[in-house]
Symmetry: D2
Subunit: 281 residues, 4 copies
Amino acid sequence: MKIIILINCPDQKGIISSVTSFIHSQKGNIVYLDQHVDKSANVFFMRLESDFESIDIEELQKKFDTELATRYQMHWSLHTDMKKPKMALFVSKYNHCLYDILSRFNSGELAVEIPFILSNHPDLKYIADQFAVPFHHVPFNKENRDASEKRQIELLKGYEVDFIVLARYMQIISSSLIDLYPNKIINIHHSFLPAFAGAKPYHAAFERGVKIIGATSHYVTEELDAGPIIEQDVAPVSHMHTIPDFINKGRDLEKIVLSRAVKLHVLRKTMVYNNKTVIFS
Amino acid sequence: MKIIILINCPDQKGIISSVTSFIHSQKGNIVYLDQHVDKSANVFFMRLESDFESIDIEELQKKFDTELATRYQMHWSLHTDMKKPKMALFVSKYNHCLYDILSRFNSGELAVEIPFILSNHPDLKYIADQFAVPFHHVPFNKENRDASEKRQIELLKGYEVDFIVLARYMQIISSSLIDLYPNKIINIHHSFLPAFAGAKPYHAAFERGVKIIGATSHYVTEELDAGPIIEQDVAPVSHMHTIPDFINKGRDLEKIVLSRAVKLHVLRKTMVYNNKTVIFS
Amino acid sequence: MKIIILINCPDQKGIISSVTSFIHSQKGNIVYLDQHVDKSANVFFMRLESDFESIDIEELQKKFDTELATRYQMHWSLHTDMKKPKMALFVSKYNHCLYDILSRFNSGELAVEIPFILSNHPDLKYIADQFAVPFHHVPFNKENRDASEKRQIELLKGYEVDFIVLARYMQIISSSLIDLYPNKIINIHHSFLPAFAGAKPYHAAFERGVKIIGATSHYVTEELDAGPIIEQDVAPVSHMHTIPDFINKGRDLEKIVLSRAVKLHVLRKTMVYNNKTVIFS
Amino acid sequence: MKIIILINCPDQKGIISSVTSFIHSQKGNIVYLDQHVDKSANVFFMRLESDFESIDIEELQKKFDTELATRYQMHWSLHTDMKKPKMALFVSKYNHCLYDILSRFNSGELAVEIPFILSNHPDLKYIADQFAVPFHHVPFNKENRDASEKRQIELLKGYEVDFIVLARYMQIISSSLIDLYPNKIINIHHSFLPAFAGAKPYHAAFERGVKIIGATSHYVTEELDAGPIIEQDVAPVSHMHTIPDFINKGRDLEKIVLSRAVKLHVLRKTMVYNNKTVIFS
């Protein structure tokens, strides 16, 4: 069985040695270790992949807690490859990110389950049908706001969703949802953040005359487009490109940047601290 | 003789045909033609490179004015390769952009003259000496502001400078200087504008946790870091990079992005309109 | 109506002026003009987009031939936006490029018709069904070679196919097919050509220890992986990446590089000369 | 004192735990640990940075040998930051890489000493003079071959040079020199290897019609341009670029790719195995 352990704690001498010795003592074989020290914040981060032939997970967790976590004041989590995480997809009217994720899913690129697609519009139901994924149309407007949020949460809990991907979902996410899924809602914003946060970033980029456009995937927090950045990428543009050209070029960026973020999240390679991410290799 | 003509005017039918026929009628051979129409502003742009065996420039200009410019309400300029433009370098304490430009100059990459280097600090005089370029130390502070500006303008006029390159000159340029050199002062800003305008952009980028840093060269206008963008480039960063790492990586970006802008300007491949640039190929 | 004219001919004075005056005389409005001179080969290339309010195409072609083409020894072609080109897709077992193209097609990114998908294996029929495109399984092996080629050509002619896209079709294309579709068969090769031509390029790249992998789209010619290159792109890799990692990363490259080539071809922005492409802007 | 330890050995359980415990037991504080397992070759690699308040290096080495190296069959080396490595620069006639490295050196980017510059031509002596570095002109041709090699080795030994950088040195390096400096001679090749190895790669790239050009830095081995690759980068080109344009664009690539390789080497972040490099982060 493969076990992934994520740790952060105040930095101090001897952590790596203690943790690796512990794994060794439990008959685990360390397959990959990546660590990072944020010197300005004095915080230590580690991601450890180990193979165990057979192991009682609960026992291991208890021992880890007693022997290491308390001593080093660790925040930590343990994950196995026994269960695929459940990912809900939220979309609106743009289909490119949805097509991209479902194609990757069908190609076996993403080790997740996709219990359902939720949209505030009915337009993309046909794609859900194409890929045989349940589709829930939950309209959202000022009037039905509370009812809609309730319905969203009902669906997420009902399907035991682990994390949410906003694949160009053009609607603000409510605080209650963010609180339920802290650092577990991934958004794609169609600009190189922090430039052009908010609505219509391609229009703003065109107006400013930039020579490069970008896309940014990030975890959703209360403040709009200000959450921890997971991944960014860019593409060159020129005076020849119109706003529709920006939008076309941007689609490819959005697809790639979002899918990379989803993969990193699924592989437990992200860790959030101080509104920034550590991305393990 | 090679002649470059730059044009912008309201878009209408027949401009290309009229201009190319005119050149042909004057026994010129069009070597390169690049045009662009900004459809939202309804403006036509053109850059035309032609070879002439022998030509009376003044005569040509007069004819162009009478036969074309008035008729099409053109803003236009004509340049020959007979005279190298004079480029003044303004620097402060960072040496990487200065070294880069002088090395390129010595390698024959830049078809300019460099009459002098000006600095508000004496620190980089040794590099001016290494490359045998005159160095003028013009201190700048609240008290000597007017005198300094006067001295700057005196030097620029004295040397008949055509354009100015701010190679990490860490001092605001005065309005009077900007007015004297409209779209002729090139700055390098060490961020991916419009993100992180103003002071300490690498610190701000680090704070925000971006995954890509950038550099932007632009023409200087009254508003700080808001002039027409000439060129931008980026480099990937990660959680592993500290602010000093950002600064180190950024140096290479700054050098490349500034030198590209200088080359485009020298080759008359830039045209400014609506606070944006058209960059001809 | 929009008319695109592609020209190549021996370079000489006055071509641009003659062509633009001709368009002007026929009441056309030049919307875009891009030209290039290959000085080593002394060949002139031009792509001209014009708007005509109403025009007799045949008449225009005749006049163009008489007044320009003969005089300048032009190879030329004229295209309108009245009819979408018909694109056949050839695939084998990998689904990522097929998914990508069909998704783009459904999103309205590609102005083509897709009359059918052909494969030497039945595996991807389910995707053809998902997107409701006819699927033809034409097995190919030493024994049935001639019959298979005949069947391919029968299908291509029957559907009046204009060009073919090999979306990871893992089978050599026969000479007879190449002769029927000169510079009209687009292949995606999963390496940065000319490095790693032939089979298993990711394995070869891994073996050599490169730090960047690439993908190349090109027109198919008799010589394997040696046709005119349309588009290339690359992605960084490191010692940490295994061959499966290369393959995964490569998939995104392949999709993007192939789709860009298809778009350029559809927009008539490619022109082949001396086994190289001119790619108009 | 900062100590860097580089290790490779057959992969087996418990290595990380043993090494980190050892460092801990010697009162060292691990500042950075990066490891890699090449699963196909079953080899374990590690780079460990540790701080020690005071330490007897020889004693530490002996203990490391006894307690770890023998047991795990390690190839290993230990480096401190007490002594800067001595880097010889070999050049011919192109000045851009030389300017670049000397500028970086003067800016404090490279923690090395540069005892001398060697060239087979006298042309670049003026740059050595500009930067006050000794310059040795060692002509090289068929007739003086043996004498020249002898002189080269004499200089390298006399100055106690640690590694050699070929900054566009257009001359084959002799086997005897390669044997003296295994994985310690860094070359920059002006193509994206393995494409266009050998002479005139920009001409070959132009001929083939590639859309991207590259540069590659690698350790020099007996086989020309076939040594372990340290770093590669690329830049886009188009049909508009001539061979001189390729050469110009390539200069910037060469400078960056070479300087990155030099920095990685100086920071002991490279390790060679099976003619490939592990590049630690």
